[in-house]
Amino acid sequence: MRTIQFREALREAMSEEMRRDPSVFLMGEEVAEYNGAYKVSQGMLDEFGAERVIDTPIAELGFAGIGVGAATNGLRPIIEFMTFNFSLVAIDQVINAAAKMYSMSGGQYSCPIVFRGPTGNAGMLSSQHSQNFENWYANTPGLKVVVPSTPYDAKGLLKSAIRDPDPVIFMESELMYGDKGEVPEEEYTLPLDKANVVREGKSVTIVSFGKMMKVALAAADELAKEGIEAEVIDLRSVRPIDYATLVESVKKTNRMVVVEEAWPLASISSELAYNVQRYAFDYLDAPVHRITNADVPLPYAPTLIEAALPNVARTVKAVKEVLYRK
């Protein structure tokens, strides 16, 4: 199979959907003439023209709201945030308008919109540029929240997100845009509500999503050397969460470790731990453990970043703890 970059997979998803459906358009800062701050939309202005690939001023609240209005009135906008850190400027329109339009209109007006862009840290950018908002958005009924981890998933999930009748938050990473992976030439889509069992095992379930999947998989490799067979699950979506797949896995492995890049309080890992104890309590042989970002704004210095972020060593250690192994 051919291999393409993560950014190319996203671009293919958007371009294919724009060819298929004239109501789809892309709007955001530097998406058109500059070809995207991270070159995700490279060449799209040339193909689709300035009516459908639209540069905006730096005015997130305004263009997010314009997207929501357009979606409410029948279009299918893809709104790019240069990063989700800047989506905070726009969050009122996302939470108060997009997420609630269908409900408060009693089902008269839906809001088929995708908000996409990178989330999480991207190296030494300090605290205002290194934040994860997956759990913030996932907290809001009315939204769907998708966090792909590979080019293959990115393409299939983004196509589904664009076709989806509800508002979807789609979160990527600057650190993944250059990642290469196999993506078929043929068209495919992936469901927005199914987790992916990426690696099977019976000793422990490691759950993660987005770029932390790399940490989870690398930890599984390490553990395999010591005869520990980790089952690794990629959530793909954090709203809704595919609890059935999780609970199934925990019934087999009896142990769970979550790897998440966000801060710990009220995070996706808190939520997973709650549901697993609720629905698989009798199967658990150890408390659920998690690895998250330290409970602090992410600083700039590499020593502090190293101490703050989830990594393979911390994950291996947590797994050994739930296995009561030294």
Partner: protein
């Protein structure tokens, strides 16, 4: 970008009043660390006689003020020498930072100030100690101009513990309380309400101080600015809003972001005294800031100054800047603000070529020393992670 060029500064809108001599010689302490002589800055005194009648209430059309030619030579020698040294320090520092970024000694995002030096130097000379400064992420030059030690800034860029933000902020978040520099902020436009709030506190405490709040041309399209402008004017807050119009927000030219491309006119929507300033001439910057400061201190509230400037380098270190022509960059380099100051100094006989070269050599040594200092400083240790998050010392963090 040709149309952001100053049109003989003929369009001052609501601006009024003229520069008065500002209080003198507020020497500033530089963080306790390795102060340089640029830190011992002097407040220049415009020699020009102040015409009492020229001090009008805000709102009057001050075409008289605005039509004056660049007032070259109307400042004393010390002022020119201070400007020269301060601006050249910024330039040399940034050139070095750019090199070090290339060598991966400096990481993350790094936005250089090269080309825009007069925007800071002319403001520092027109304001006084106690006034507060705030800006966006293009923030190395503001503290340098205020006298922060280059060592502390370079160490911050290197992510070292001796940096002004202890290696926690990096290039985009230089802060130095000792010179009233309230940061480097990373969310475009976010610092505009903050600047108004800082001014609110000064007014509340009746200090007579003001806040000068810098932003890029990209920031003027953010809603936060418009809300803040309205309230700052409504409540007559002592704030000088400054847009450093360098023509581009990343790859987007000012012309592509709005129909309103004469940015100073944005202030007029709020009846805020507003004017364009040729910020390739430090004298113009000084005079405009002095006028705005006088209004602020007289209780007349905010002003909005559009500094017409240019960044010679890309937006950040990773930007090849393909969206503009070589000729455009060259055109601005020809009007370089430091060269303008050098020219005045030489033609007015304030110093010789050799003396200026000696200053340059000295500044290069200062910058080299800052690199040395940064290289040799340690990274913050892991224990630092939980410090400076809450003032409360025993805050119960979630720790696994």
């Amino acid at each position: 970008m040709a149309d952001t060029k100053v049109k003989a500064a003929s369009k001052a809108s609501n601006s009024a009043g003229k520069a008065k001599p500002t209080p003198k010689n507020s020497t500033s302490k530089s963080n306790g660390k390795a102060a340089v002589s640029a830190a011992e800055r002097q407040q220049p005194e415009p020699v020009e006689a102040v015409q009492p009648g020229a001090e009008k209430a805000a709102g009057a059309k001050a075409s008289k003020t605005a039509q004056q030619p660049a007032s070259k030579g109307s400042f004393p020698k010390e002022t020119y020498m201070t400007w020269f040294e301060s601006m050249l320090l910024m330039r040399r520092f940034e050139e070095k930072a750019g090199q070090l970024y290339g060598q991966q000694k400096i990481k993350g995002f790094c936005h250089l100030y090269i080309g825009q030096e007069a925007c800071v130097a002319g403001a520092v000379s027109a304001l006084r100690q106690g006034d507060k400064y705030i800006t966006a992420y293009r923030d190395h030059a503001h503290p340098l101009g205020l006298g922060t030690s280059p060592n502390a800034i370079m160490a911050e860029l290197f992510a070292k513990q001796t940096g002004c933000s202890k290696g926690k902020g990096g290039s985009m978040h230089i802060f130095d309380k000792s010179v009233n520099f309230i940061g480097g902020h990373g969310i475009v436009g976010g610092q505009v309400p903050l600047g108004a709030g800082i001014a609110f506190a000064e007014k509340y405490n009746k200090t007579g101080n003001l806040c000068i709040c810098y932003m890029g041309d990209g920031a003027v399209r953010q809603g936060a600015l418009h809300e803040a402008f309205n309230m700052a004017m409504l409540w007559k807050l002592p704030v000088i809003f400054v847009v450093e119009n360098n023509g581009y927000a990343m790859g987007t030219s000012v012309q592509r972001t709005s129909n309103v491309t004469e940015l100073y006119t944005i202030g007029e929507a709020y009846d805020m005294p507003s004017e364009p300033v040729d910020a390739m001439h430090v004298e113009e910057v000084h005079n405009a800031v002095a006028r705005a400061a006088e209004r602020a201190r007289a209780g007349e509230g905010p002003s909005f100054l559009e500094f017409k400037t240019y960044r010679y380098k890309g937006h950040s270190m990773s930007d090849p800047a393909k969206y503009r022509t070589k000729e455009e960059v060259e055109e601005y380099r020809m009007r370089d603000s430091i060269e303008n100051v050098r020219h005045t100094i030489l033609t007015q006989g304030m110093a010789t070529e050799d003396e200026l070269n000696a200053i340059d050599e000295k500044l290069k040594a200062v910058v080299a020393e800052s690199v040395e200092f940064a290289e040799q400083s340690p990274y913050p240790p892991a224990e630092e992670l939980y410090r400076d998050v809450y003032v409360q010392e025993d805050y119960p963090f979630i720790r696994e």
